[in-house]
Structure formats: C-alpha cells, structure tokens
C-alpha cells in the first residue's frame, strides 16, 4: 500500500507520537552520578565474563567484563571509580541480574586512558568487526543485539543494501531524531565504514516524516562520493521494525523464519551507526548513550547523554523529578518497552528512553471479551490473526498457535494490544505463549538422548 506522500507497509497502527516534548530539546550530557550499576548482561546472547573484583579501581573506558563467545560483547566501565560490589541487582528486564556496582570517583576528571584510534580505512572487514565487538557495540534501537554479528554475513549471501534505521516509530522517543539532527556527519561517517565493511554499494536511511529537521540535516551533510539515499517514511508504527523497513525500502518481504540478509539487506540503527563512528573517531567503547527522558510525568523532559549503568532514580532527579500524578515508568518506548518499579534499575546499552506516564495515560484496566472486531488483524504488520491466537492462548493451545497460526512470526510489536477495544493483553499473551513453547522445546531437548558434543 503506497501512500501519496511517502513509503509505508500495510497494516500497522497510528498511536499519537507525543514527541513534541523533547524533539527540539538539544542533547545534554548528564553529570556522573555517585554510583553506577553495570549488569553483565546488557545484550542479546551470552552475558559477558567478569574481569574485576570487589575493590578494584577502574578508569573510564576500561573493560570490566569480556565477551564470552561469539554472540557476546564486553562491558566497559562508564566512569572512573571503585568496584563497590558485585551483586544481584534489579535489571530492566524485571529480573535480578549479576551486576558490577561502581562507586564513581568524586572530583575525577573522567579522562579515559589514552588509546589508539584505529584508522578505519586500512582495516579489513574482519578487523572492523573485531573493533566493533571490542567496543561493546550492540543495537541501540532496543533489542541490543551485538552489532558485529550483523556485520558478518555468510559468504554465500550477496548483500545489496545497508539500511539505516532512523524511523524511530515508537512514540515519545527522540534519541535517534536528535542524533541525526545534531550529529549528521557522524552518522554519515558510520555509514561509510559500514558500507566498506559490508561491501555494499547502496545505503538508505529511512526516516519518518515527522522529523523533517533530521531529514534536512542528513541531506545537507550527505557525502557526494557515496550512494546514500535519505528516504522519508510515513509515520506509522512499527515502521522501524527491521522487516517493515526492508519491505518499504526494497519492496521485498523477509521470508518467514529468515534473516534480513536473505533478501540482501543489513539493517542498523542510527544510534549504533553513530556509536561505531565514535569508536573510529575517539577509540572510546560504548560507555554512554543518548536517552530520551520524557512523558508528562517528568518535570523536565530531556535528551541526555547518560553513562551506561546510571540508575533510574539519578536520571529522573536530573530531569527535575516526577510529577505527582506519575503512574508508570517505562524503559524504551511505550509500545514495546517494559515497566520499571524500582528506582535502582540501571539504564543499560539497550535503553532508548525513559517514559513516565501519568494516571490519565495509563491504559485502562477493564477487559472485555473478544468481540472479533478484527481490528487486530488490520493492525498486525505480519498478517497474523491475533484475535484467534488470543483465544487459543487463553485455552492453552500453544502448539496450535505455533503450527496453524504462525505464533513464532509474531514480533511482539504490540500493535494488536494497542488497537484492541476490549483491552485484551494480546501481545503479552503471545510473549508468554512463546516462552511456554520454548520451555517445552527445552524439556524435549533435555529428555532426548544426549548427542556427543565434541
């Protein structure tokens, strides 16, 4: 379904974007708090392996945990300080996780150790990937998938496109937006490195049309020697989902169960691209990121550069604290983010924003029976039947959900829950159903006779 004004995919939803709170607020650097909490698991894949002990002193940018395997990245100290404890600590995913508690050195100039800045131009793709992994870079769009893995396509796949995801379709969030507006050269520099590393000739930056200043900034700074297109996109959720972006830009659908690489595309978040550029500019690893702290429950909505590991309470305090009617705090966007009950929870690499909703904005609690209105079918970007899936989930028929109704293709974007007039927690039910199936599978695998693992 092509729109008159821009490109988009079919289905999806139109939540109010609520970005006006922070879209014109320049990024500021938040001062270092007294304490930081650095979980060892801040990325998809295996948690990093601890390198420090209690009492160790670290400099800003020092590695405190190393990558444990291929799908893993190291963790670096985001400030100079002393390891106060290594303990179980509230984690943004709602669990307790092993975390390095760092007492930040007061009055420290926070100057990192001098380090070698690699010359990107002389590096092979493998060396670039190594530098990216060594910098602890993960997808900054929220999923926190280690970036270097995405840069390593199998030899038999021909890549055509580098897609840079600047859609930022989640309401409220403006981190990517401000990054594009304030650091367009850095974004283009990152694109240049990525294109060379991947060996692709074309790059497309997809930006939703509610960010005209970002589009203008990127256009203005576009290098002449590269084939980079800035593609305005219709404002619609989930425009920024990988599969949707690929569909919109290339016209291709990533086959069910396959990766973007299979249609010749690699998608990188604008923030990740900028971080990579920074590695090759300053040599500093991923120790801080841009976070939008917003919502009508925050007194001073801001776009901040926050050291990774800063705790929720400190960040909110810096933004003027909460209003009296603040009711719910969400890490990430309101569509896919998670509620946080605990002020000690740290902001991690994948935390795109902190959204504070007020009593008035919290979603209604009364649920009604499914009236089969079909609004969720119209919303689902991957064309599932959430209505039916929901009924099956309630009945506990998980296998049927997977086999007959393609549960595993659900990307939990929340569009169905958003439109459901009966307030049925569809997306949550699907997430749980997927977990149930995964557990079942693990059980089956565990009970199967062990194969010889060499």
């Amino acid at each position: 379904m092509l729109s008159f004004f821009g490109m988009t995919f079919s289905h999806g939803v139109h939540p109010p974007d609520s970005k006006s709170l922070t879209e014109h607020v320049a990024i500021r650097r938040m001062p270092f708090p007294k304490r930081l909490a650095l979980p060892l698991r801040q990325h998809a894949g295996k948690p990093a392996r601890l390198l420090v002990r209690k009492g160790d002193r670290v400099q800003r940018g020092d590695m405190i945990a190393e990558a444990d395997g291929y799908v893993s990245v190291p963790i670096h100290a985001s400030a100079a300080g002393t390891v106060a404890a290594i303990d179980w600590w509230p984690h943004p995913d709602g669990t307790m996780a092993e975390t390095v508690i760092l007492d930040v050195e007061p009055w420290s100039p926070q100057i990192p150790r001098p380090r070698l800045v690699p010359d990107w131009n002389g590096l092979t793709p493998a060396q670039v990937r190594k530098a990216v992994q060594g910098g602890g870079v993960v997808g900054l769009g929220g999923a926190a998938f280690p970036t270097h893995v995405k840069l390593s396509p199998p030899a038999d796949l021909e890549l055509e496109w580098l897609l840079v995801n600047g859609a930022e379709c989640e309401p409220y969030l403006t981190t990517d937006h401000r990054t594009m507006v304030e650091f367009p050269e850095r974004v283009h520099f990152g694109i240049r490195i990525m294109m060379q590393c991947l060996g692709v000739q074309r790059a497309v930056v997809g930006v939703e049309m509610n960010k005209p200043d970002a589009i203008a900034a990127l256009e203005r700074t576009k290098p002449a020697d590269l084939d980079v297109t800035i593609q305005p996109l219709v404002v619609k959720y989930p425009q920024g989902a990988e599969k949707m972006l690929i569909k919109v830009v290339t016209g291709r659908e990533v086959p069910s169960g396959k990766l973007p690489m299979h249609v010749g595309a690699v998608v990188q978040n604008v923030g990740s691209i900028a971080t990579i550029a920074e590695i090759f500019e300053t040599g500093l690893p991923l120790i801080e990121r841009v976070v939008t702290v917003t919502g009508s429950g925050v007194r001073r909505p801001s776009n901040l550069i926050v050291p990774v590991g800063a705790m929720l309470g400190d960040v909110l305090d810096y933004c003027g604290g909460l209003t009296d009617d603040a009711a719910e705090i969400v890490f990430g966007g309101p569509m896919m983010g998670s509620s946080q009950p605990d002020m000690r929870t740290p902001l991690v690499k994948g935390t795109t924003g902190v959204v504070v909703l007020t009593d008035r904005e919290v979603k209604p609690k009364t649920t009604y029976p499914c009236i089969k209105c079909g609004h969720c079918l119209d919303a689902c970007p991957v064309f599932l039947n959430p209505s039916r899936l929901g009924l099956l989930a309630q009945a506990g028929r998980y296998e049927e959900m997977r086999d007959a109704y393609h549960l595993m293709d659900c990307m939990l974007c929340g569009s169905c829950s958003y439109v459901c007039p009966s307030n049925i927690p569809l997306s949550q039910m699907f997430s749980l159903s997927k977990n149930m199936l995964r557990k079942q599978q693990d059980l089956v695998a565990a009970s199967a006779p062990k194969k010889d693992v060499a």
Partner: protein, 332 residues
C-alpha cells in the same frame, strides 16, 4: 524499597482510543435516527415495540449476564435491532419476550458477549417468528392518523392480540410475491411503505452505516458485498425474466438495508478476515435473492444472515491472511 508506587504492566503501555463499550454505544447512537424514522412512519406503536424489546434484552442481561455487562452496550444494540425487525402492531409482551430470548438463548447460553455464533437480535426475531407466526406477519395499514396505535400493542402478557385492532396492509415484498404488483421506488427509498419498523428507513440506515464504516466500527466489505450480489443477481434475473423484480426494488425493499448494514456486520458473528467478509456478504446476498424469488417466504434476509452466521468459523479458517514473508511476495 517502598511499596510499589508504580504501575507494572506489560507492553504496550499505551492504548488506542477505541473500547468495546465505545463501539457499542456508537452503534446505539447511530440507531437512534433509525428508531426516530420508525416513530415518524409508524407513530407511537414503534416506540412501544422497540422499548419493549430493548427492555427485555437489558433486563435479561442484567439478571443473568455477568455483572456490569449491561454497560458495555451490546444488549442495548440487540434490543434496538430486534425491535426494528418487528412489525409495528406487535403486542409489547411479545417484543419483550423476544428480547429475553435474544439475550438468554442468543448470547448468554453461548457464554456471553463474543461467544455467540448467531446474531442474537435475529435469533430473537426467528424465535418470535416461529412462536407467533401470525402476529409476526401481520403488517398494519399505513394510512390512518399518526398518533393511532398500529395494532394491539397493549395486549396483556401472554394474551392474544385483538385482531380487530389491526387493520392489515401489505409489504412491498408481499405484494410482489403474492399479488405480483410492484411498489414505486420513490416510496421504497423514502420508506412510506408497510413493513417492519426498521425496514422502511433506507436512507437513515445507509447514513448510519457510512458513519460506522468510516469509524471502522463495521466492516464496509460486508454490506457492499451484499448489495453488489443482490443487485447483480437480481438485475441478471430481471433481464432473463422481466416478471421478476429489478435490482433497485430488491435493494430497497424488505429488511435488506437494516440486515446488511446492522445485522450482518455484527462483529461477533461475522468473519474477521477481509476475504472472509467478501465471501460472507456474497453468501448472504445470494441467499436473499434465492429465498425472495423462489422460496416460500416473501423475505429472506433474516434466514440468510443466520445461515451464513453458522458458516463464519469455517470462512475464517479458510481465509487466513497471508503471513508476512510467505507466498509470492517473499523473496527467498
């Protein structure tokens, strides 16, 4: 840590503007003009009959339904729609009984809102049709003062209507079927003909339907499919056999408008998939033409919709949407 001060909910944390009660009450609101038209054409009788059926529905929902279910508005819709399918001269107790049946047997025995297979209003109407065939096919004459009752609306509960109180007229479809006479199209469109309360206000119904379709509170494909099927089929048949009525007559007579716009599009009992909606609408249209032209009854909208209601689970299963990344759109 202090007691949890903050909400802890699953994503998404924001919610679209639509809610089930809002949808239902909007439908009710669009039905108000239709009820108004019924009162305009049929006088106070219309109000009596519709109030009785609505009261029957609301009361049943209140007594036997889950707590607070009356507030979601679905029982009110059922009551209004049921009332609109009834003849103006019907005793109020019958209309009320129809409402009780519609909610009790049409909805609650299936497990309440969202669980029923058949449109409750039509099931109530079918029950009344089977229970009191004579009263349900007694069409009052349209002449006479506006304020006069069109029949024995006030008959005592369980008692027969006084046949003397009813001056019978005929419906356009009845005239077509049994007398072979046509009714002027202008009168059909304007609604100044005999028939059920909601059969005669085509324009008002279409306007209400258009508004609901715009708000996405009904699937526009269903009425469009029904109208197209009925129009094309009857035009074709009219060409082959000019003694059969033409497309416009078929569209504007009987309960087709009300049925296509308000009954067939009942979310619970219609397919959820777009292709399913087309099939569903086509099935209803074809059945309506078949029953009207060759069946024993003058009108077939009610049975057509109920029959297709029964097929909805199969239609839904057969028209699963194409999964993203499969079929010819996907590139492997």
């Amino acid at each position: 840590m202090e007691a949890p001060r903050f909400e802890l909910t699953a994503s998404p944390h924001i919610k679209g503007p639509d809610s089930t009660p809002r949808i239902m009450w909007t439908v009710v609101a669009t039905l108000v003009p239709v009820v108004g038209a019924a009162v305009w054409y049929f006088g106070p009788s219309a109000l009596l009959v519709i109030s009785a059926s609505t009261a029957g529905c609301l009361l049943t929902e209140r007594v036997f339904g889950p707590g607070g279910a009356v507030r979601d508005g679905s029982a009110a819709i059922t009551g209004l729609l049921l009332g609109l399918t009834l003849p103006p001269g019907l005793p109020m107790w019958m209309a009320g009984l129809g409402g009780v049946f519609a909610i009790g047997f049409g909805k609650l025995v299936f497990g309440g809102l969202g669980q029923n297979i058949f449109n409750p209003a039509l099931l109530g109407r079918a029950f009344l049709q089977a229970a009191f065939p004579e009263d349900l096919t007694t069409w009052p004459d349209m002449s006479g003062p506006w304020s006069a009752l069109r029949g024995d609306n006030l008959a005592l509960p369980l008692m027969s209507a006084d046949p003397v109180a009813t001056v019978t007229g005929a419906t356009p479809l009845g005239l077509m079927k049994f007398e072979g006479t046509d009714t002027e199209l202008v009168r059909l469109v304007l609604g100044s003909t005999g028939g059920s309360l909601g059969e005669t206000a085509a324009v008002v119904i279409l306007l209400g339907g258009a508004y609901l379709a715009l708000k996405k509170y009904l699937d526009w494909r269903i009425p469009v499919a029904i109208f197209a099927t009925v129009a094309l089929l009857s035009a074709l048949i009219h060409l082959l056999d000019p003694s059969k009525p033409g497309a416009l007559f078929m569209l504007f007579s009987g309960g087709l408008m009300l049925g296509a716009v308000y009954m067939a599009t009942d979310m619970v009992t219609s397919p959820t998939t777009p292709r399913g909606a087309w099939i569903f609408g086509f099935g209803i249209g074809a059945l309506v033409v078949l029953i009207r032209l060759w069946g024993g009854l003058p009108e077939g909208v009610m049975y057509s919709i109920l029959l297709m209601n029964a097929l909805v689970p199969f239609i839904d299963r057969a028209t699963k949407p194409r999964l993203f990344g499969t079929g010819k759109e996907a590139m492997a």
